[in-house]
Symmetry: C2
DNA sequence: GTAACCATGGGATACGGTTTCGCCACCGGC
DNA sequence: GCCGGTGGCGAAACCGTATCCCATGGTTAC
């Protein structure tokens, strides 16, 4: 097992190789390449020729050890294939690239243990920031551990950014980029209520997920505002996936639950719900209305196109990166005080074709 | 501008801090932490306590400079939000994590320049491999430059892996993980033909994209096999997105093109096509049949569910990572010979509900 | 004509680890 | 009681780059 690579390992060229071959000092090569020091044209020519000949590139590890190096941000999400988070990641990555920064990606698979382990791993990498995507779990111990990590990162000159979840309690050095989750749900539910719906099947998501809690709260507030009693029996919790949407509707129908609309926690859940209704011979929106949440591309690709809440995911990613970049530049004197910064972006309802007033029944 | 950080910069704890505080040498701390050398229990206890107190983590850059370090793979794709590539990335990332490897992600935005620049950037990072996702552009110069990069990476002990595109020509040290693109298209087209369709609108993708070329070839071959003349006038090229699918169908209908089925280059294109047909008052599949390609989740979430070609994207990602891992372990003596390795995974048609025999017309 | 200066380039050191080498103490065997 | 072996630890030599400090030669100012 301890074989270790041995033979044909040519390895990559070092700055010393270049210096030697060009007949100059390593300092000069470094200066030519970084370009932050005056060098003669002759020297530059000689060095660059050798660099091309040897196909030399600087060793990023050595460079960042020595103080230089390109900043790197870590993006941690539960699943790359989720459209919403992928858009946030795109926003972060795009903004990072614009500044010449690098992005590391890690997936947590919805495992809190793994999430914490990854934060630690990223700390070793000396990243400029760790950007954590997605709703948090509402355990006390989890929150405590996250706060500890926030402080660790901060102490090491890095920074924790939470995207799409409520800020940590207390005086924790972490930036939060959030959207107006509850208001979005409020507006969406109001839309259904004002169309005349009174019996609404609500699929907010997992009960422990902060995102789901907010969406449920918003919906409930809308019902209160309309003076419509909110029936807890019409709420079905579950994961944010297609299967849950399908099964929740299928089960509800089988149990004879009476509803004229479905308020889904995400667009994907709405897609599952829609399919289940169709399978039961119900038409959307003629027999049952459906609304989603997120406004991912899928929403406008379904038939009928889904009325949903637009969440500016990509923009959130850009904002998150800008927050750490600003902090890095203005970091010297002032400004560092804005520690538990909390940025909230707006949401709005996008009206498409999946809602109609309820059909008259017996 | 040259302010430089100055004041409260506590910085992170180094191995020296730990050694000092524990009253031992740095060598001992290193040994305790890496665990590849016998140390007394007493020493281990003392060191670990200080490590916890100081919340110390090793500097990954320094570590990898000194020879150790966790391997890192770079994943380059055009767009994180594309479902197909996201699944490949998931496969790579998952397999990497399983081995304790790290993954870097970069997006190219379909810009060949940027792709080449990113490969270079990753070379600086000393990654174990660069995994390039997606169809290639069929320019000679591009291919040449990519071959150069393959050789550069190889010389530096790294490796280039191409996923979802044909292998590079000539004796290039790059691994290719591909799927049977043409056969998939052949099977899909055959499915339509055997259902009785003769006039088929074909939306293969961009003409310069190798993926699109393969899919078009496969379709054409099927027509020949069925003895049905292939009409080039029924082919519409364009990007792999929803809008293209929509517009291609809309335009074709407006031009009075006569077709009973749509053979879309991807599921997303199929979704756009489906919407356009609906908007024109045509039913799917009663009036027009549609098939896609990729079998991303969207395919089964559409109504009707889409008949399509299943491509094992996630598996491809896993295979790609396994290929570099194998090469790394067995790398010493034998096996290094298998240079231009080319792995091809199978595809198959998934029959759902979007195809019916063509309706009888006048 | 000489001192002060500017533009360049080289040598040395620091960055934070890992690893080789060698020392020391302790052990058992004769 | 002496000697060889061994387990455990410290000192020091790297890994590849950036940068500080100094030397040199030519130029400008007086």
């Amino acid at each position: 097992m301890s074989q270790r690579k041995a033979d044909g390992d040519a390895g990559r060229a070092t700055i010393r190789d270049v210096a030697e071959r060009a007949g100059v000092s390593v300092a000069s090569v470094s200066r030519v390449l970084s370009g932050n020091y005056p060098v003669s044209d002759e020297l530059r020519r000689r060095v660059m020729k050798v660099v091309r000949d040897l196909d030399y590139v600087t060793n990023a590890h050595a460079r960042s050890l020595a103080g230089g190096g390109t900043p790197t941000v870590a993006i941690l999400l539960n699943n790359i294939t989720g459209a919403a988070f992928a858009h946030v990641a795109k926003g972060v990555e795009g903004a990072a690239t614009l500044r010449g920064w690098l992005s590391l990606v890690g997936t947590t698979g919805d495992d809190p243990e793994r999430e914490l382990a990854l934060v630690n791993l990223m700390r070793q990498q000396g990243v400029a920031a760790v950007i954590l995507l997605g709703g948090a779990y509402d355990y006390d111990e989890y929150q405590l551990r996250m706060a500890r990590f926030a402080r660790s990162l901060d102490a090491a000159g890095s920074h924790l950014v939470l995207v799409g979840r409520p800020p940590l309690e207390g005086d924790v050095p972490a930036t939060t980029v959030d959207y107006d989750n509850e208001s979005g749900a409020y507006a969406m539910a109001s839309h259904l209520l004002s169309a005349g719906h009174r019996r609404v099947l609500v699929l907010p998501g997992h009960a422990e997920l902060t995102t789901a809690q907010g969406r449920l709260r918003g919906a409930r507030r809308a019902f209160e505002a309309y003076g419509v009693p909110f029936d807890p029996g019409m709420v079905r919790h579950g994961p944010y996936d297609y299967e849950h949407g399908y099964e929740a509707v299928e089960t509800s129908l089988r149990e004879g639950l009476d509803f004229t609309a479905v308020l889904a926690g995400t667009d994907v859940v709405a897609a599952g719900a829609m399919q289940a209704l169709r399978a039961a011979g119900l038409r959307v929106p003629e027999d049952v209305s459906i609304v989603g949440y997120d406004d991912i591309p899928l929403a406008s690709q379904l038939t009928p196109q889904l009325t949903t809440v637009h969440v500016p995911y990509e923009e959130m990613g850009r904002v998150a990166l800008r927050a750490v970049a600003d902090r890095r530049e203005g970091g010297a004197g002032r400004r560092r005080s804005a520690d538990g910064e909390h940025l909230v972006l707006g949401t709005h309802v996008v009206v498409r074709n999946s809602v109609r007033p309820p059909a008259l029944r017996d």
